[in-house]
C-alpha cells in the first residue's frame, strides 16, 4: 500500500485496485475558478494520473475569497489561472502530470483534449461553454459532471452518454438572464459542496464503480437548509439533437462571428475574435498604446487603461480581450474596435 494514499485505499469501494486505476487516469477540468481550483486540488491529492486544466482568465484579488489555489502574489502579478493552478498543484503532488491551457474552452480545443480524458469536470461559469462540453461528451462518448453555484445555492448532475439524459434534454435551450455571481454573489461553502458532489462522482467513474453513481440531479441551498435529489431519467428525450440516435451536436457548429461573453462575478466582457484573425503582437501593441494610457505587460498578456476612462482592456497572446468596467457586450465591442482595431 502506498503510504501517501493509504487512507483512500482503506476505503473499501476504492481499495488498491481503485487507487491503481486513479493513478493512471486523466481528468479534464474546464475552468479554473472556484469550482475548478477546488476539484483540481482534490483530484491531485487523490493521486489522479494526469490533470488537464483549461482557463481563459487570470487571477484577481476578488477571486481570493473562494478560489482556494490562488494567493495574493498571483493576483498582484495577474498570473493566468491555469498557470497559477498548475504551479500550486505541482507543489501539492509532484507525481501528477499537470497540463495547463491558458485559452478559451472552445470546440476546437475541447475536441482535442477530450481524446485522452476519462472524465470531463465542468467548472465553467456560463451555459455557452457547458452546451459545448455536453455535445463534445456525447460525440466522444465521455462522461461529464455538471456543477454550478450562485449565492448559497448549488447543483450537480453526472451525465453518462447513452445512459442518462444530457443537459440539452434537460434544458432544451441555453438559459439566459439567470442569476450569476455578478448579481447575487457567492460564498465559498457553496463551492465546496458542489465540488464534493462532483469529485465523489468523478472518483466513482475513475475506479469504474458506475453502479455507485448518484443518478439524480442534486441541488441544495446552504443558507435555507434544503437539499433535493431528483430522478430525471424520464426527461431523456429520444429525439434530442445532442444525445439522440440522429444527433447533430448543434453546439459544435463552427461560427465565424466574434464571440463574446459576460464573465461571472466580474464587471467584464470577454471578446474572442474569429479564429481566422491575425495574431495581435503584444509588443507592438504596447508601443502603440504607451502614449494613450497606462500599459502593463507580462509574458502572457498586456493590460491597457486609456487615460480618463474607467474601462481597462487586457489582451492575451491568443487574441482574446477582456474589457473590464462594463457588462455591455456592445459597449465592449465598441471599445475593442476603438482601441485595438
Amino acid at each position: 500500500m502506498q503510504e501517501r494514499y493509504s487512507r483512500q485505499q482503506l476505503f473499501t469501494p476504492i481499495g488498491l485496485e481503485g487507487q491503481q486505476k486513479i493513478n493512471c487516469k486523466t481528468v479534464l477540468i474546464i475552468g479554473a475558478g472556484a469550482l475548478g481550483a477546488a476539484s483540481a486540488e482534490s483530484l491531485v491529492r487523490a493521486g489522479i494520473g494526469k490533470l488537464v486544466i483549461v482557463d481563459r482568465d487570470y487571477v484577481e484579488v476578488s477571486n481570493l475569497q473562494r478560489q482556494q489555489l490562488y494567493e495574493e502574489r498571483d493576483a498582484t502579478l495577474r498570473i493566468p489561472k491555469a498557470e497559477a493552478a498548475k504551479a500550486h498543484l505541482q507543489s501539492i503532488n509532484s507525481a501528477v502530470t499537470i497540463e495547463s491551457h491558458v485559452a478559451d474552452a472552445d470546440v476546437e480545443l475541447l475536441s482535442q483534449l477530450v481524446l485522452e480524458a476519462d472524465v470531463l469536470l465542468d467548472a465553467t461559469d456560463n451555459f455557452d461553454t457547458r452546451m459545448i462540453i455536453n455535445d463534445i461528451a456525447q460525440k466522444y462518448n465521455t462522461p461529464w459532471i455538471y456543477g454550478a453555484c450562485v449565492g448559497s445555492y448549488g447543483i450537480s448532475f453526472t451525465i453518462i452518454p447513452g445512459k442518462t439524459p444530457c443537459l440539452n434534454c434537460l434544458l432544451e435551450t441555453v438559459p439566459l438572464g439567470g442569476a450569476t455571481c455578478d448579481t447575487v454573489g457567492i460564498i465559498s461553502p457553496t463551492v465546496q459542496m458542489v465540488v464534493a458532489h462532483q469529485v465523489a462522482e468523478a472518483l466513482k467513474l475513475l475506479v469504474e464503480d458506475e453502479g455507485a453513481l448518484r443518478q439524480t440531479v442534486v441541488s441544495f441551498d446552504l443558507w435555507q437548509h434544503n437539499y433535493q435529489s431528483i430522478h430525471v431519467q424520464s426527461a431523456k428525450q429520444s429525439a434530442c439533437t445532442s444525445c439522440g440516435p440522429d444527433a447533430t451536436y448543434p453546439y459544435l457548429h463552427y461560427d465565424q462571428q466574434m464571440k463574446s461573453a459576460v464573465l461571472c462575478g466580474r464587471d467584464t466582457v470577454q471578446l474572442r475574435p474569429a479564429p481566422g484573425n491575425h495574431k495581435i503582437d503584444l509588443n507592438e501593441l504596447s508601443k502603440r498604446m504607451a502614449s494613450l494610457g497606462k500599459v502593463e505587460q507580462n509574458p502572457f498578456l498586456l493590460s491597457f487603461q486609456p487615460y480618463n476612462m474607467k474601462e481597462r482592456m487586457v489582451v492575451f497572446q491568443d487574441n482574446r480581450v477582456l474589457i473590464h468596467g462594463t457588462k455591455d457586450i456592445h459597449e465592449a465591442k465598441k471599445l475593442y474596435y476603438q482601441w485595438i482595431g
Partner: protein, 67 residues
C-alpha cells in the same frame, strides 16, 4: 391551498391552481428549471395543464450558470 415546495409546507393563494401559476407566483423562469410533482418530472409543455391539489409535493430545481 397547502402544498409542499422544496420540502417546506406552504400556503399559496387560492388563485394559484396550476403549475404555471405557481411558477409565476414564485417568479421562476420556466426555461432553466426542472419541476417535479409528487416524485414525477413535469414536462415543460405541461406546466399550464398541470393542476395542483392540496397536499402536493413540488420540487423546483434551478439550473444556474455560476462557477
Amino acid at each position: 391551498m397547502m402544498i409542499h415546495v422544496n420540502g417546506c409546507q406552504t400556503n399559496v393563494p387560492s388563485d394559484v391552481r396550476t403549475m404555471e401559476q405557481l411558477m409565476h407566483y414564485y417568479e421562476l423562469q420556466a426555461k432553466s428549471m426542472i419541476v417535479e410533482l409528487n416524485k414525477a418530472i413535469v414536462n415543460k409543455d405541461k406546466y399550464a395543464s398541470t393542476s395542483l391539489q392540496n397536499g402536493d409535493c413540488i420540487e423546483f430545481v434551478h439550473f444556474v450558470g455560476g462557477g
